[in-house]
Amino acid sequence: MTHDEAKLPLGLFRPDQDDPADPLFSEALAQMESNQDLASWFAREKSLDQEMRSAVKEMMPPSSLRDSLLAKNKIIQPSIFSQSRWMAPALAIAAALILLVVMSALIRPHAPGVDPVIAALTQKIPALTDAHNHAKATSGDFAPLRSWLAEHGGASDFQIPKSLQNVGGVACEVTEVEGRKVTILCFDVETGRHPHLYVVETPGSQPDPAAGPVFTEIDGVAVASWQENGKTYFLAERGSMESVRNLL
């Protein structure tokens, strides 16, 4: 490690909270012990860090903010949490009914009845969309991704919405829901945006050609759903419905 290379980890090392034995920092810290120039640079760097930390700490919230946060919660709280015990099952039943309505909304334009795989997948979409840990294969090129997906039992002949066809970073995996394979593609659209495309085989479905995508929100996740060539697609993103619409 050269003098200059050592500056990168040293610049990021926070003496009061990072572990000096962490391999990320240990070599550079050891080098610093025998290099006076590096030690002087480090001292200046940490001095700036300390000043910056103080400067950030001085960004104080208005004195009224705490009370305002607590007061607003008291207004919200009675309607959500402070109900008598019998309300808990009632709320659970209401939640189940809402979920059923959502599932029906997703399925109704495409096929009669509720496919249990689709129903289960619908429930899982918020958690799957938040997870971001499904990068079993990653590529900006769809051909190797399709091959990888085919090898792992996923769909390989799926359609990708036009706006996502030239996205540089795509991660994917194949998961199983109620015994059926579900292909998941996670697109790295821009900082902080990761729309997910879920593809599941639904061979018996007979979509109405005139029906467009169905839009719904599930636990804060905007979802567009449609069927095409024996497959059901869900495009989901935590955020506004408009963002999802714009991706189609």
Binding site: K7, L8, R44, A55, M59, P62, L70, G239
Partner: protein, 174 residues
């Protein structure tokens, strides 16, 4: 549940506000963001299984809320421009110490990815792993982005003062 909510407020609201200010760059929007995050949180406290992760849980919620509001306001010029204009008078400190106000101004003048990651870096007790989770980026990206953000910060601080805090080394490297 009431007690838990109050703990979340008392323990973290100041840091949540600081992070919100670094995102929104003006105090009113920072208050709004903080309010929104706590309002959303009130209904989801049961999802917080590990109290030790409360801070990064709130920060993650805040960052997502910010991205959502940014997407909503995409077509409108940001209300922050006026505030930013106030920050643009460069500090003419000569050999003087850089004041904390000037350092904050420099931080808030950075581009969003840089100021966001630096704010998290300079807050107490947020690990690199947590920063990666909050911003939803790999840890390697956290490190490289932080290094670039610190370079950008130094470049914004008056050169006379940079010599005091490490900028001269950048010159020597060239």
């Amino acid at each position: 549940m009431d007690d838990v909510f109050q703990e979340l407020v008392d323990g973290f609201y100041a840091d949540v506000y600081r992070f919100a200010l670094s995102l929104a760059r003006n105090p009113d929007d920072a208050c709004d963001l903080t309010q929104q995050v706590y309002a959303n949180t009130a209904g989801r406290i049961h999802q917080l299984r590990d109290r030790t992760k409360a801070k990064s849980w709130l920060f993650t919620a805040l960052y997502r809320e910010f991205l959502k509001s940014k997407a909503r306001e995409k077509r409108q010029p940001l209300a922050e421009e006026e505030e930013i204009a106030k920050l643009e008078a460069p500090a003419d400190g000569g050999e003087q110490m850089v004041s904390h106000a000037e350092l904050r101004d420099a931080l808030l003048r950075l581009e969003e990815p840089h100021r966001v990651i630096l704010t998290l870096f300079y807050m107490d007790q947020i690990s690199y792993k947590e920063i990666a989770a909050i911003l939803d980026i790999p840890i390697g990206t956290v490190m490289s982005r932080l290094a670039r953000a610190k370079d950008a910060l130094r470049a914004l601080i008056n050169p006379g003062n940079i010599n005091r805090s490490g900028g001269s080394d950048r010159k020597n490297q060239r």
